[in-house]
């Protein structure tokens, strides 16, 4: 190293130049790849929604989405209606699946009336599925998912995902053995009031044969992630109760 590179002035100028060059490079990469990335995310949302209503390529024990190349076609085929509820009013919106649930949830904490609540109506083999997006937080970061229910709010399918839960523990919420437990569970109690589904430790029904106990078995070692799942099901699915009440009355 020569003396020149040891001087303070040189060091500072070098640092500034480096930051500018690297910053420009990263900004260029990010903005030139952004359209492709957001397209991938859009397809993923379609795959998630289709997964929740049972349109997937599952094999044995692993959860497999429909092919990305087919997602758009299948989405148009199976999803018959996309609705948005806002302050009790229901409107149709073909882009409802792109609504940012995280953002709507933030809006909802201050102005519940302004929160947009998307719901997707799917039709498979003559049966109607109501797919609802949910969002919450796990142990380390965000968790989210899509739950499909029938008109009596009995769960028909669920897909959960996470940003950074512990591999092998909380990350298992996106494994079949956990997600499939929700199928058939009732969200309402026997009186028709909303109760949700608890991810319960010390569950008396580990094989999950009782579908009306509003409980599924928790994952050992993933208490906080499990509680996060319970909480997002309770808080987010509850908001859709009026929609299903209406459905019944009409």
């Amino acid at each position: 190293m020569s003396n020149k590179t040891d001087s303070n002035v040189y060091t500072i100028i070098f640092a500034i130049a480096m930051v500018i060059i690297v910053g420009a490079l990263l900004a260029f990469t990010a903005s030139s790849l952004a359209p492709k990335i957001s397209e991938n995310q859009r397809i993923e949302k379609q795959q998630n929604i289709l997964y929740a209503m049972g349109v997937n390529n599952n094999d044995e024990g692993s959860a497999v989405f429909v092919d990305a190349s087919e997602a758009q076609d299948l989405f148009s085929k199976y999803i018959t209606k996309q609705l948005v509820m806002q302050n009790g009013n229901v409107t149709e919106d073909a882009e409802a699946y792109l609504i940012d649930i995280k953002k709507q949830k933030t809006i909802g904490t201050n102005n519940p009336d302004e929160r947009k609540l998307p719901i997707f109506l799917g039709d498979k083999d003559g049966k109607t599925y109501y797919v609802i997006p949910i969002y919450g937080k796990g142990l380390w970061d965000a968790i989210w998912g899509y739950v499909s229910v029938d008109k009596n709010m009995v769960i028909q399918g669920a897909y959960f995902d996470h940003k950074g839960e512990t591999p092998g523990l909380g990350a298992n919420i996106k494994e079949r053995f956990f997600m499939d437990d929700f199928i058939g569970e009732h969200l309402l109690d026997s009186n028709g009031n909303f109760k949700g589904v608890d991810v319960a430790k010390g569950n008396a029904d580990p094989k999950n044969e009782n579908k009306t106990d509003n409980e599924v078995d928790a994952i050992a070692g993933a208490t906080i992630t499990g509680n996060g799942v319970t909480a997002m099901i309770k808080s987010d699915l509850k908001l859709y109760k009026p929609y299903f009440d209406n459905l019944k009355n009409n």
């Binding site: 190293m1 020569s2 590179t5 040891d6 040189y10 060091t11 070098f14 640092a15 480096m18 930051v19 690297v22 490079l25 990263l26 990469t29 990010a30 790849l33 492709k36 990335i37 991938n40 995310q41 397809i43 993923e44 044995e60 990305a68 950074g164 591999p167 092998g168």
Partner: protein, 214 residues
């Protein structure tokens, strides 16, 4: 390797065996444990590290005479962080499924000790071409171990290789499963990766006694 002089060729071959970054220098263990449950993830991780280490070594080597020595570690960090973010963005754009599997680990490349180690130990004192070879060599050495570990973990843990059911179908009870074979779920957990790496170290050192520290 007719293209390379003997000295240059050693830069590639040494890390593959007698100076392997994982089994001899015991660097980069964290990622070797974390992502080797499947062969595919191992290969992608190895290729990503190769890209980052190869390019990073060249960049650092080209800058070696202008990097102020007082902030050289920070400069190395910025270079590797920028490269990793670019790799991550490219994966997100062109291989989205894979980027979801690797997203946690791609970030961990920054903290992969092999990368900082090669910048500091080699690229700062050598020309770009030799640094490039050194980077590729070390990434290959790292990748070979990852692939070996991934091979055994996926084969014994899930009965598959790159997703293909090579041992038959565990549900339908075909192939090996017909005679009562079971997958070893323990192989999918991180501790077994450490044990597999340990076995590789054992085999390597018993074949080459020079590697044994007394």
């Amino acid at each position: 390797m007719g293209l390379l002089s003997k000295k240059d060729a050693k830069l590639i071959t040494d890390p593959l065996a007698d100076n392997n970054p994982i089994t001899i220098q015991v660097l980069g263990i964290c990622s070797a444990l974390a992502i080797t449950a499947q062969l595919k993830a191992s290969i992608v991780m190895a290729v990503s590290v190769m890209a980052v280490l190869g390019i990073g070594n060249v960049v650092i080597s080209l800058m070696r005479n202008i990097i102020p020595s007082k902030i050289r570690i920070i400069v190395q960090l910025v270079v590797v962080a920028a490269l990793v973010i670019i790799v991550d963005q490219v994966l997100k754009a062109f291989s989205y499924e894979l980027s979801k599997t690797l997203s946690v680990f791609v970030g961990l490349i920054i903290t992969n000790c092999i990368i900082m180690g090669r910048f500091e130990a080699f690229a700062l004192g050598n020309g770009p071409w030799r640094s490039f070879l050194d980077g590729i060599g070390n990434a290959l050495g790292y990748g070979v171990i990852l692939v070996i570990v991934g091979f055994f973990r996926e084969l014994l843990g899930s009965g598959t290789l790159l997703g293909f059911k090579v041992l038959g179908d565990p549900i339908e009870k075909t192939g090996l499963y017909a005679i009562g074979y079971e997958n070893n779920g323990f192989m999918l957990l991180s501790p077994m990766a450490l044990i597999v790496v340990g076995i590789i170290i054992w085999v390597q050192r018993s074949r080459n006694k020079d590697l044994i520290e007394d």
